[in-house]
């Protein structure tokens, strides 16, 4: 479970202090997919990086499975799988070698890493290219390996920032199926995406973030009903334009 309470974050530039998040609160529970949506610059990536312990909150708290992101950052990282949208895998190592490396970084025994790699290779249909150098893979293949890297240590909580970017239709289905399976397995999934149709299909609850503030949060069906909108896209633009 991920609990974000009154999270504020700003960045100092040479000329001014830029407030990116202003008292943002939401909770993502185990066994659900929580969608964090918003236009570019809304503060989604900053929120996800703060959850992943890469940034320190200026105010408020972030707790992952009751571990505080500042005091117990290592425990937070242990129970968190993090995929950033900006990750561009490259280099001459194979996907298997990269997964072995990240498994070792998570202090997993070799035989457990090997078994987990086979499992992930099967889940994401990577068997045919897992031993090829990453530099020679397509962007979709690389994205699948990036997702597998974030999941190598079987985290209870999964934070995905744009997981379906660069993926073709078939690969999107593979990732979507995995997210549904993770949810069914009791995992907590926080998903940030600009593909609203993906969010509507996958998310149980959503929060729409705009200019550092949560505009709306709740179960998708309830939000659509209360706002009188027919789908997430209509709700999204109604909120953003209304703001």
């Amino acid at each position: 479970m991920i609990v974000v309470e009154n999270l504020s974050k700003s960045f100092k530039t040479r000329k001014a202090t830029l407030a990116v998040l202003d008292k943002v609160s939401f909770t993502a529970y185990d066994g659900e997919v929580f969608g964090l949506l918003g236009p570019n610059g809304a503060g989604k990536t900053t929120a996800l990086r703060t959850i992943a312990t890469l940034l320190r909150p200026d105010g408020g708290t972030v707790a992952v499975d009751h571990y505080d992101s500042i005091r117990d950052s290592r425990s937070v990282r242990d129970s968190l799988g993090f995929l950033t949208s900006e990750m561009q895998l490259t280099g001459h190592l194979s996907g298997r070698e990269m997964l072995q490396f990240f498994g070792a970084l998570n202090h997993m025994p070799k035989e457990v890493i090997a078994a987990r790699i086979e499992q992930l290779a099967h889940t994401f249909s990577m068997e045919t290219y897992l031993d090829n150098p990453i530099a020679r893979l397509s962007s979709g293949m690389k994205q699948k390996i990036s997702i597998a890297i974030s999941l190598i240590h079987e985290p209870q909580n999964i934070v995905f920032d744009e997981p379906t970017s660069n993926l073709d239709v078939l690969a999107v289905k593979v990732v979507s199926d995995f997210i549904r399976a993770a949810k069914a397995g009791g995992k907590c999934v926080v998903l940030s995406t600009h593909v609203l149709s993906d969010a509507q299909r996958l998310c149980d609850r959503i929060a729409i973030l705009h200019q550092g503030e949560i505009l709306i949060e709740g179960p998708l069906a309830t939000l659509l009903h209360d706002s009188g909108t027919k789908d997430l896209e209509e709700l999204f633009f109604q909120l953003i334009n209304g703001k």
Binding site: R49, L54, F82, T84, E86, M87, G91, A104, N106
Partner: protein
């Protein structure tokens, strides 16, 4: 922590050695550059000289046809006498010159041709021998010989260590400079790729969300860059040894023979310690700079001025003798160059060596602390 640092180190090293192009540019090129440059250029010069020796030149000799002179010229050079208009070299004595009288002799040649330049030098040699011959003739009129004018028999006795006499001085002049240059250039690519390169690719953020401490990540990366820069320096060293050991007479630009040079065990140990600690220092500096940059391109623009400082330190100390001023051994790069010079000349001062190693290690440790601090701060991820 060191187990985690080793995981990072091993992965980086594995990735590095799987790239053939990087191996060629980092190790093979430095190893081949110096032999190709020195032996190649030496060979070209040697070939040109051989060709010049086999060429028959047209020489015009004006104002003096003394057969003793033409015989001496024939000993030095293959030539035929010709008219000044068609001659490649013209030797002009004053009109009505009498052998043995004081006169100005002009040797006219075209220095833009290396063959003619060579021939003119040979002819100048013949003229000097002719001058000596004439002087001896004059002295003989007074019952003297040329040697009678030499009252002092001057002999030089070199008391330098055997390592210096057998070519260590040449090595002390060249090797530290090249080693330092390639040590730094070797660390630059690897250091920037593993810091600002990882930022640029967005992979550093994922690396930081793991169970390893960020200090371990910092040490792993510094260790990797150190090993690469050390290997690059060793490749240069091997290249330099090939150049010096396999250069034949007249085929090397280094001039002195170093084939008899033997480095003592203690000097070799000192050299290895120096290289390791300097590699750590270079790696720490490059990694710190790489951490401040958002992209490899930005990192390169930060590194170039530092690299120029290193080159400057190498050039300015190239012809300097190792200093006795102990404070200089606290300054990285300068200290390494001085103690390397001492090593090659077989006269390592233990105090200089210890101060240098401690200084390098201290600077490397401070650099590692800065890298670890940057990895532990938000600054590193704000640019990811």
């Amino acid at each position: 922590m060191f187990k985690d640092a080793f995981i990072i180190f091993r992965k980086e090293l594995k990735n590095f050695f799987k790239d053939q192009r990087t191996i060629i540019s980092t190790f093979l090129l430095p190893a081949l550059l110096l032999p190709v440059l020195f032996i190649g250029m030496g060979t070209v010069m040697h070939t040109m000289e051989s060709k010049a020796q086999q060429t028959t030149f047209t020489v015009a000799l004006e104002g003096n046809h003394d057969p003793r002179l033409t015989t001496l010229m024939a000993d030095k050079l293959s030539y035929t006498l010709g008219e000044p208009q068609e001659a490649e070299i013209v030797i002009t004595f004053p009109p009505h010159y009498l052998a043995g009288t004081r006169a100005q002799v002009l040797v006219t040649y075209d220095s833009s041709s290396s063959k003619i330049e060579y021939a003119s030098q040979r002819l100048v040699g013949a003229l000097q021998e002719y001058n000596t011959l004439l002087a001896d003739n004059l002295l003989s009129l007074y019952g003297l010989a040329g040697d009678d004018l030499q009252s002092l028999d001057i002999r030089l006795i070199d008391i330098a260590p055997s390592a210096v006499q057998s070519g260590g001085a040449v090595l002390a002049l060249l090797v530290p400079y090249f080693l330092i240059i390639f040590l730094f250039s070797g660390s630059m690519n690897a250091g920037l790729d593993t810091t600002s390169g990882e930022k640029e690719r967005g992979s550093l953020a994922v690396l930081l969300v793991n169970q390893v401490s960020r200090t371990a990540i910092a040490w792993g990366k510094i260790l990797f860059v150190s090993v690469i820069s050390l290997c690059a320096a060793m490749a240069t060293f091997v290249g330099l040894l090939i150049t010096l050991l396999f250069s034949l007479d007249g085929m090397s630009l280094t001039g002195a023979s170093t084939s008899a040079y033997v480095m003592s065990g203690s000097s070799l140990v000192a050299l290895v310690l120096l290289l390791i600690t300097t590699a750590l220092f270079a790696a720490a500096v490059v990694t710190v700079v790489g951490c401040f940059a958002k992209t490899v391109k930005e990192g390169s623009s930060y590194i170039i001025p530092l690299y120029m400082v290193v080159v400057l330190a190498g050039v300015t100390t190239m012809y300097m003798d190792p200093s006795e001023l102990i404070a200089l051994y606290l300054i990285p790069i300068v200290n390494t160059i001085f103690v390397m010079k001492e090593s090659f000349m077989g006269m390592v001062n233990p105090l200089h060596l210890v101060v240098t190693i401690l200084s390098n290690l201290c600077f490397a440790y401070v650099g590692a602390l800065v890298v670890a601090r940057l990895f532990n701060s938000e600054r590193i991820v704000q640019t990811v």
